[in-house]
Symmetry: C2
Subunit: 385 residues, 2 copies
Amino acid sequence: MRKVAVIGIGQTRIAEHWDKSLKELVGDAILDALMDAQINAFDALFIGNMMSASANQQQNIGAYISDWVGARGTESMRVESACSSGSAAFRAAVLAVASNEIDFAVAAAVEKMTDSPGAETTANLATAADADWEVSHGVSFIALNALIMQRYLHEYRWDHSSFAGFSVNAHENAMNNPNARLHIPITKEKYNRSPVICDPITLMDASSIGDGAAAVVLVPFDSLIVNDNKTITVIGSAAASDTISVHSRADPLWLSAAEKSAKQAYAQAGISPTDVDLFEYHDAFTIMAVLSLEASGFAERGKAPKLALDNEIQLSGRIPVATMGGLKARGHPVGATGMYQIVEIIQQLRGHAGKNQVAGASIGMAQNIGGSGSNIITHILSNEC
Amino acid sequence: MRKVAVIGIGQTRIAEHWDKSLKELVGDAILDALMDAQINAFDALFIGNMMSASANQQQNIGAYISDWVGARGTESMRVESACSSGSAAFRAAVLAVASNEIDFAVAAAVEKMTDSPGAETTANLATAADADWEVSHGVSFIALNALIMQRYLHEYRWDHSSFAGFSVNAHENAMNNPNARLHIPITKEKYNRSPVICDPITLMDASSIGDGAAAVVLVPFDSLIVNDNKTITVIGSAAASDTISVHSRADPLWLSAAEKSAKQAYAQAGISPTDVDLFEYHDAFTIMAVLSLEASGFAERGKAPKLALDNEIQLSGRIPVATMGGLKARGHPVGATGMYQIVEIIQQLRGHAGKNQVAGASIGMAQNIGGSGSNIITHILSNEC
């Protein structure tokens, strides 16, 4: 395929943006990305979003947003795959630019979850699970994750407290990210004292939702006149699916869609997990961080908690994760999260991550999970052009 | 771009399928398309759907449907642009195959609107309009179309009865389409006696919603070993947007996104409107049929009703439209409609349209409209390989 480069990024702070509508939020991110790319027009807009139909009573948001950002007339479509909608929109844009049909693409993602007319968040999130076989029986999204975590602790004989490091690291990294939802440092002791939400998941295992938007500008690599240190290329892009319901899986503790998409992306990039300098994983709950690390080849099955216990996941560790705070503390505006991951990897690969810079980062990987592992998308980016 | 061929098609009847869920409906269409293509596996699934979040309380339907059709693990995403979601999914699949990243793609579209937990259809359809500036003031979708039609009748001095031919033609063609929603022949007299729904739109101006699904299989043209008469190629694919709200347009009687996408598609195909043998337009309301014909170059501004009065739109006319019944009588399962248009054009170009066959059809065009003209996608297909 035609090699694809990302030349512009933008993001809003993740917060309860009661003063901003969905289009205002994503408009801010898109305009920042266009400014960063130093362009003022584009050919197509790919929008990742999960819950605008229910939370905002607004669909057809491709056209809606094109018009708002001054690109009236431009091709636009919305892409949805629950919490992996952000990276699905990025992937759709990568394919479009690779096809030779689109030269300047904007991929953006947004979620406006608070202070909205239909903001029953738990019900809206539940649409990512199986309506017939999970939701209608009252199993909420956090309950599904709690069942998986319970089984993991039992099967591999870990204590709940062994997961503390993932949350402590995320909160620590978020401290230096001005766009993060939470600027609250936590300790292992605080993690251990945290109230249970859905046993064994505690408040400190769960990510924080919020309103937010992120955007990137993609172009064919060969079209670049100047190849400065702001240019990042996509060297791996793959997606895979799994059963939507957790109970249908042969092994609920193995994210087969993570394994499949990661292996495809590694093969495209010609690398192995040891070549990855940082990993933006999908820590919606700490159990998902653990399963993602294992299925992607960063830890053996049942051993990922050891990475945290051994301090391997810190910025200076063997595999830095959640380098800007992750879903846990940067925040999780569900359908937008995948685009934040891409934007943060680009900040790292440009060397613009400030106090959180991973020294010498040249290859970054993002993995975005929709549902309880039913739709998983892996991207690998590089600053070596 | 890599030339893309369509080698399989499938569709369900459009009806009130109270015995079928969303996944069962679309599963039937996908399995028919795979049987038609004589393949049993594929690389990626692109699903067009508008209202599963609200009508079915189910999102993330890419993974959901992949699993149901026996393709667990396969990449899948949902594409949404209101009533043009079906053709948006087709376009996303075209771009994916053209990119060299995907070899076997399935594009499918589905809408399950009746007998569903959240089947408040008027409210669900309204999410295609501007929530802040149209819907919140109580302007429903049909009301927006009625305002446009009223203005058209005034501006160009047509009687309402001049629109009769579009509906009569659609109902006549649906008689021979076993998958059509309505098998009810109508006359000009019946059209003229039809009850007003939203002045000046009458029941006979409005399309019929329903449950339905359609699907196609796409492959790179160069990969085909056998090039039989079932192979159809995509020679034009373009999308454009407009303001989501009707009042923001300089001219509410001109579908600028139809003009823009049609012109791009003609240029890609190297043809002009006179080369088009049949046109599957988006006659959600007769006024949209008229505006689509004008913006796509089949009639001068303000003159499209003359095409119907002069019997130019029939199967043997200058520009046959709604050849299998159109949205009016084949039916309008909103997010699936665009895929039905593609499937029907392929039936015609294969010479498999039965009593409705357009003699010698070699180039067919589909135009799918999202919102009140805010997202319009035009495809041109050919049987000359």
